[in-house]
Structures are given as structure tokens and as C-alpha cells.
Symmetry: C2
């Protein structure tokens, strides 16, 4: 028999509440088995949960995540179905990549600002420091 988990075990492991996991079930994102009335999660449920939560950390809505998970369910395997799925998949990838560009830009600016703060020892006039860095920040900050 392969390993299984209870709801609170998974909740603890992933740092969410059982309520959250039950909510995802209501939304059809996970479909655990039952032992009597208790939920039993297998490794596939666990993997899906991990996927969902990572998606959430990346900023997706549950609707987004639902769609992406549905992409993995290939349906009946008809050719048109495959083509549509592939198309959606690529759209998602494009979105993800542009999101990564945004993320990189944000990281860049924050890292830059970090360096500014590191350079700035008490006594150094602000103007001088700011001159050392490019003007982008100045346009955002005061």
C-alpha cells in the first residue's frame, strides 16, 4: 500500500489550514478518498496540493489554477482537444514568462535600492549617493 495522509497532516506540512484544503475540494481541485467520513489523501492528491499552493504563491487565482490543472487532464484524447490544450498551454507559458520579466525587473530595482542603502553611511549626503545610482529610482521615490 502506498502512503496516505490525513487532512491535518497535509495542512501542517504545507502550512495551510484544513479549511483551505476542504475549500479546494469544494472547488474541485482535489478529490480525496474517504475512510468512512474522513478524508484520505494519496500521493497524487498531495502532488496536486503542492502544485496548487505553488501556483498560489506565484500569484495565480484559483480559477487560473483550476484551468491549468484541467490542462493536465487530456480528456478523451481527440486530436482537436489536444490542439486546444496545447494552445492554452502555450498562452499560459507566455503569461508566465512575462510575469517572470516583471519579477526580474522588480528584483533588480529592489536590489539596486539595497545597494544604495548599503553605500549610504551616516553623513554621506543623499544627493551624492543618488547620483551614484541611475535615475529610475528617483522618479519613483521622493
Amino acid at each position: 500500500m502506498s502512503q496516505t495522509w490525513t487532512i491535518s497532516e497535509l495542512a501542517k506540512e504545507f502550512g495551510v489550514t484544513p479549511r483551505t484544503i476542504r475549500f479546494y475540494e469544494d472547488e474541485g481541485l482535489v478529490t480525496p478518498q474517504r475512510d468512512g467520513q474522513n478524508r484520505i489523501y494519496d500521493s497524487r492528491d498531495r502532488a496536486r496540493l503542492a502544485w496548487i499552493l505553488r501556483g498560489r504563491r506565484v500569484g495565480f487565482t484559483l480559477a487560473d489554477i483550476t484551468e491549468m490543472l484541467n490542462l493536465y487532464d487530456l480528456g478523451d484524447g481527440r486530436e482537436t482537444q489536444r490542439v486546444v490544450t496545447l494552445e492554452k498551454c502555450r498562452d499560459r507559458l507566455t503569461a508566465l514568462e512575462s510575469q517572470r520579466a516583471d519579477l526580474d525587473a522588480t528584483i533588480d530595482e529592489l536590489a539596486n535600492f539595497c545597494r544604495l542603502l548599503e553605500d549610504w553611511k551616516a553623513g554621506t549626503p543623499l544627493d551624492e549617493i543618488r547620483r551614484k545610482h541611475n535615475a529610475k529610482l528617483r522618479s519613483v521615490a521622493e
Copy 2:
């Protein structure tokens, strides 16, 4: 005189509604000048707006964004203030980088699945294709 914009100009440019921009003002994220009762946005407001919206695309809450923008306002320049700001800045960076890791992993899996879909021409048995790819997907999908 440097360039200025109306609310609907910026709204159009950034693909949001004027309501959104006014809401950000209510939250103290932008503080445009006024011409009579009409709002006038300068290049600094514009830059802040761009920053806010990029933050939003990356999945931050407005509270997060507020905090990050406040980091840029260096306060009175006292040393302790600088240190605290630097610390927060670094924490943010850490979070951003772990988010980037999540994003990369998500992109990886989706790209992998894309390749699977591309390989799968009608007639090819599913099992055979799945064997070609690693087992991670199988654990998430059906």
C-alpha cells in the same frame, strides 16, 4: 514644464480604469496635484503607478506594495531608520527570489507538458509518451 497626464490618459496607457487609480490614491499610493478639482499626474506619479501595477502583476497585495514603496521614502535619514529599511528590503528580496524559484518550477513543468503535447500525435499511445517524460507529471495529472 515637464509633462503631465490626466487620470484617463494614465488609465488608458496602463490598461486600468480611473476608478483603480483613484482607489490607489485613497490608499495613499499616489498623490497627484490638482488643477481645480481635477487630478494632474506628473512623471513621478506615473513611475509610481507603473511600479504599483507591476507589483500587482507579480502577485503582491496592495499592502505589500505600500510597504515596498515606503521603503523608498528614506525618512529623516537617521541611521537606525536606514538599518531597519535595509533589513526589510533584504527580506523582501529573499521573498522575491523564492517566488522566482516557484515561478521557474511552474514554467518548467508547463513547458514539459507542452512538449508532451507536441510529441503526442494522434495514434500514439498515451503510455508510451508518458514513459518518455519523467514521472512528476503523472503524479499530478490523472
